[in-house]
């Protein structure tokens, strides 16, 4: 059995954690403002598809990245309007966006590239394999700073905890929530873009395969705080890295190491944390509740 704990594993962990960090921090903005964001999965897909397509045409990954961000913002604006303007059930709206983003990329891809499965390969020199990784680790302190050291962050947290208090202090609850959900779309859009033009070199159907939900899990596991959430992302990225490394590795007895058990670690941990077995994970108090006041 060769050693699996190597420098390569560390790099692999960092790269696999990167999309999770972007998306979970996006989710943090939204959820801390009181809007559940189950749509992270769909937003990531939007980012991934758009970034890959635009990079393919423009020949420049940075333009592709910006397009991915724009797509994330556009898709999250649907969620924002449904939840904030029309008081839609936030979970249902998020699920609708996830379903939309399974279909829409394939639908558009089918006409753009005559293939509903994937976008064309992007040449290696047009990928950005590392920059988003570095930026992800800048994002964490930046998010922390915005949330805890700026007036915007103060208002955002207040709106998610006790909107009536923020309202009484003259803060517009709706405005804060709109900005939070759109920021969430931008960040999750980067996470998605990194999947298609960083980690791999094309978009494939449903290529997030649950990473949006893992990001959500990391957010809960990290108790809606930047540094803890980053650590959760690293942990989940590590489990994924290990499970990739273990493929084909056999125990001395000649048996496979079942991958599946490593894959489910993030989900099992999240359930345990939610039930309150490892410390309390307290959600922002006003999460999921539309804010309406009597007039």
């Amino acid at each position: 059995m060769r050693s699996i704990f190597s420098i390569a594993l560390i790099f692999s962990t960092l790269r696999l954690a990167t999309p999770l960090i972007w998306a979970s921090h996006g989710g943090m903005f939204s959820e801390r403002s009181g809007v559940i964001n189950i749509a992270l999965e769909g937003i990531m897909l939007a980012g991934a598809f758009t970034a890959a397509s635009v990079t393919f045409y423009a020949g420049n990954p940075w333009i592709g990245l910006v397009a991915g961000i724009a797509a994330g913002v556009a898709i999250s604006s649907i969620h924002a309007v449904a939840c904030i303007r029309f008081n839609a059930n936030q979970v249902v709206s998020g699920m609708a966006i996830n379903i939309l983003m399974i279909g829409l990329p394939a639908f558009l891809g089918g006409s753009l590239f005559a293939s509903t499965g994937s976008t064309p390969q992007i040449p290696k020199e047009n990928l950005i394999p590392w920059t988003p990784v570095f930026l992800a680790f800048l994002l964490v302190p930046a998010t922390w700073y915005v949330l805890y050291r700026t007036p915007f962050g103060l208002r955002l947290r207040a709106v998610g905890e006790k909107p009536e208090a923020a309202d009484a202090a003259g803060v517009s609850v709706k405005l804060m929530r709109y900005s939070a959900v759109l920021i969430s779309g931008a960040l999750a859009g980067v996470g998605g873009a990194y999947l298609s033009i960083g980690q791999s070199s094309l978009f494939t159907r449903n290529m997030t395969s649950g990473r949006g939900f893992i990001s959500l899990a990391a957010l809960i596991f990290g108790k809606w705080r930047p540094v803890q959430t980053m650590l959760a992302c690293l942990l989940f990225g590590f489990t994924e890295a290990v499970s990739i490394q273990l493929q084909g590795v056999r125990l001395p007895s000649g048996e496979d190491i079942p991958n599946q058990f490593i894959q489910i670690i993030p989900y099992v941990l999240t359930i345990i944390v939610l039930a309150g077995f490892i410390g309390q994970s307290r959600a922002p108090r006003a999460i999921g509740l539309p804010y309406q006041k009597e007039r």
Binding site: T150, P151, L154, R155, E161, K162, A168, G170
Partner: protein, 503 residues
């Protein structure tokens, strides 16, 4: 300093404020008193821009001002401390105070200079608050002082305090009043909304009395006394009388021994009650709302988490302190809840389905194999209740939501009477019910009493409890402060006990 002219405000069909005129003199402490629902919070929320008046105008320093949002009010130097604190529990004092008017740039929150200013204010007004403390670690009294600081930080000249002492211990109340007097000396104006007359007399310079959405009196505190204020507050124009024979009380049905019920926040709501209710009598509980009546009735109905209840409750001699709601119902305890929308009805269900709530698992409602609902039996039951209790429109297929308040209430009462209870717990039986239905409900309650049922009645309407009760207990802050004979006691006397005006 502040003048409210001809302010009218409706919520749907309810007229909350009816051409209100209030004038508040600069540098005074002004009390606004009235029973719950008198409209005193509403009028002050209008002054603070939380609600918008339907008509009327607001003058600040003699100038007509538009106050449409709290922001406008703050700009005019008006601050408000709400009954339920508007504080974000997991944030610090400083963060809460600066929220909405943050110092520093958009890129950097300057909590340091804010903390200095807060510390200075805290010293000036003797509030003893540490700006870096987290709200949830503070006592209720301290949280209230944070609310004061919030207003002072925004340079409020006028502070509106909504029921500020409701959550304080007597000792904290004393400290709090000292702070308020200090503020008055510094030139601040204070409006205090309350229903506690002893406090009004202790702290205020002027009093405005409200009842049923109107101003019914304006006096200088030094020219009045508790009895006069109580009369203005609770007095009614029309006297309501219920013809009833004297009670023929039988065996003890319900017996409480030192019953205590905790609130979710860990403070006692029902604080050591001991009394009996016998078959064939109505025991009334009079008191200003929020003094433990809700918790008392809910715990007796088995709707309170058992770990919040201590003491002993006996029903026909059996200990039922920890019995579930279902067990109590089966023993013969019926319950007419105070909030019929929250507790009493399934608003989207039809009348027939509502008529079986609580007996959905009993014969004859369930028939085949003890599982299948018998539609015939449900319909018969619903029609019977509708007929006996004159529920209109008399159509069991209508959703409960479509009925008027009075008819919804008659449906609930009919449903509970149909259980043939040995004990009936009734809270606010005629709230939001029209005059005709009130009389009907009262007659039904007396008829049930005469049939031998023990009734425990809670009502915020003093007239109602006096008219119906055979014995009247007065509750204040979770304790029984006295028992009176409803036939001889006067409104002033009871009103005074209810408002803590005399012990």
């Amino acid at each position: 300093m502040l003048e409210l002219r001809d302010i009218t405000k409706r919520f749907g069909e309810v007229l909350a404020n009816d051409r209100i005129n209030i004038k508040i003199t600069e540098g005074t402490i002004h009390a606004i008193v009235g029973e719950n629902g008198a409209g005193k919070s509403t009028i002050m929320r209008i002054a603070y821009g939380f609600y918008t008046a339907d008509s009327g105008e607001i003058l600040v320093d003699g100038q007509v001002r538009r106050i449409d949002t709290p922001h406008d009010a703050i700009a005019q130097g008006i601050g408000m401390v709400h009954q339920h604190f508007m504080l974000v529990e997991n944030m610090t004092v400083a963060e809460n105070i600066v929220l909405g008017s943050e110092p520093g740039s958009a890129a950097a929150l300057d909590l340091k200079s804010a903390s200095q200013k807060i510390r200075a204010l805290s010293e000036e007004f003797k509030l003893a608050i540490n700006p870096s403390a987290v709200i949830e670690t503070l006592s209720v009294g301290q949280q209230q002082r944070v609310e004061l600081l919030k207003a002072l930080y925004r340079d409020a000249r006028l502070l509106i305090l909504d029921e500020p002492t409701a959550v304080l211990t007597p000792q904290e109340v004393e400290e709090f009043f000292t702070i308020l007097r200090g503020m008055r000396e510094q030139g601040k104006t204070v409006v205090i909304i309350t229903h506690k007359l002893d406090e009004v007399l202790a702290i205020s310079d002027e009093v405005t009395v409200m009842r049923d959405g109107r101003v019914v009196g304006r006096v200088k505190t030094k020219d009045t006394n508790a009895a006069e204020l109580a009369r203005m507050m609770v007095g009614r124009d029309v006297l309501l009388r219920v013809e009833k024979p004297d009670a023929d009380a039988g065996a003890t049905v319900l017996s409480l021994q030192d019953l205590r019920v905790m609130g979710m926040d860990g403070t006692p709501r029902v604080d050591g009650l001991t009394f009996d209710v016998r078959a064939g009598e109505v025991v009334g509980i009079a008191g200003v709302e929020g003094n433990g009546q809700t918790e008392l009735i809910e715990s007796l109905a088995g709707l309170t988490e058992p770990e919040l209840v201590s003491g002993r409750v006996e029903f026909e001699g059996r200990d039922i302190t920890t019995a579930t709601a279902k067990e109590r119902k089966q023993m013969g305890v019926a319950h007419i809840p105070e909030d019929r929308h929250r507790r009493g009805l399934l608003l989207d269900f039809d009348l027939a389905e509502n008529s079986i709530l609580g007996v959905q698992d009993r014969e004859p409602i369930v028939s085949f194999a003890g599982v299948m609902l018998d539609n015939g039996a449900i319909e018969r039951r619903a029609r019977q209740i509708i007929k006996d209790f004159d529920v209109r429109p008399a159509n069991p297929a209508l959703p409960a939501r479509s009925l008027s308040g009075g008819n919804q209430q008659k449906l609930i009462i009919g449903r509970e009477f149909d259980l043939h209870p040995k004990l009936l717990l009734v809270a606010q039986p005629t709230r939001g019910v029209d005059i005709g239905a009130i009389e009907f409900i009262h007659r039904k309650l007396i008829a049930l009493r005469d049939a031998g049922c023990a009734i425990l009645l809670v009502s915020a309407e003093l007239e109602e409890v006096t008219a119906l009760a055979d014995r009247l207990l007065v509750i204040h802050e979770g304790k029984i402060v006295g028992e009176v004979d409803p036939k001889v006691a006067t409104t002033e006397e009871i009103g005074l006990m209810m408002t803590g005006g005399h012990r």
